[in-house]
Symmetry: C2
DNA sequence: TTGCAAATACAACCAGGTTGCAAAATAAAG
DNA sequence: CTTTATTTTGCAACCTGGTTGTATTTGCAA
């Protein structure tokens, strides 16, 4: 049951063409996509509507939002099993690719009084085997 | 020898008022600062000049540039003491601010064969005490 | 002191993202 | 199948952070 319509219904939000198509696009993607990426895939969806659709998907937990190194937001479908929670990401600075490492992330540190924890992200940056081989 | 003028000279770049004052501001700061933060501290420095000054400091290794959770660039002095190396950053998803936690970062994980490590970043995201208090 | 490369100020511009509001569409009740 | 309350869409305008072009000024080395 991972088809967009059911997911949207289960999340308790209205099922609209824009949401269905955006969610399909996110699910089909192999990398987090920027607003511009998705817009070029769905040229007949209004620019502003797309911003709001993406935010609504994030709000109901069906998508994740993060900033890339240039300060641009990128969105990805957050699968039913929260598959990107609980392990470490390796980001290749050469090809931009993301690999998942098997190792478990470290435990969250203690926070000062009053701080509220949402998420921890352990990002490891470097050069992946392929790119390292090519430059050698 | 950590005064701005000497640092700039040692880095082989021209010593200008804008660079000296910006570097002083970065050194005095306890957190990475956005362009807007620095601008409000140095109101008589031109906006565009400040952008170029900050980029020049990054280019010659005297400052570090990173994006916060809202996609805004933040700058910090990369002193000889590398004060932002060796501890964890907390990024507030509400105000975009960055705080330094006392805890030491976890050791880097083992990488698959052929992968080359450049840097690890342990990012903790959530709501800082100030923002949490306001929303309550 | 002079000459020139590098830095500054200012205006215009650009990209990504947000806001306000009228018109259209969803989904639930009758 | 209608009606109705509420969301969502589409469009225009707007905002913030950041960049580019260029004439003028400044740092600094000869």
């Amino acid at each position: 049951m991972s088809n967009p319509v059911d997911l949207l219904r289960a999340a308790g939000v209205r099922v609209t063409p824009g949401r269905v198509r955006s969610l399909e696009a996110l699910q089909a993607a192999t990398q987090p996509m920027s607003h511009a990426d998705i817009e070029s895939l769905l040229p007949d969806v209004d620019r502003v509507t797309l911003y709001r659709v993406l935010d609504s998907l994030v709000a109901c937990g069906l998508a994740l939002k993060a900033v890339d190194t240039r300060g641009v937001f990128r969105f990805s479908a957050s699968g039913p099993h929260r598959q990107h929670d609980g392990h470490i990401h390796f980001r290749c600075t050469s090809c931009g690719g993301v690999s998942c490492l098997k190792a478990a992330p470290p435990p969250p540190p203690k926070l000062p009084r009053g701080f509220r924890l949402d998420a921890v992200e352990f990002d490891v940056r470097g050069t992946c085997a392929q790119c390292a081989g090519q430059s050698a």
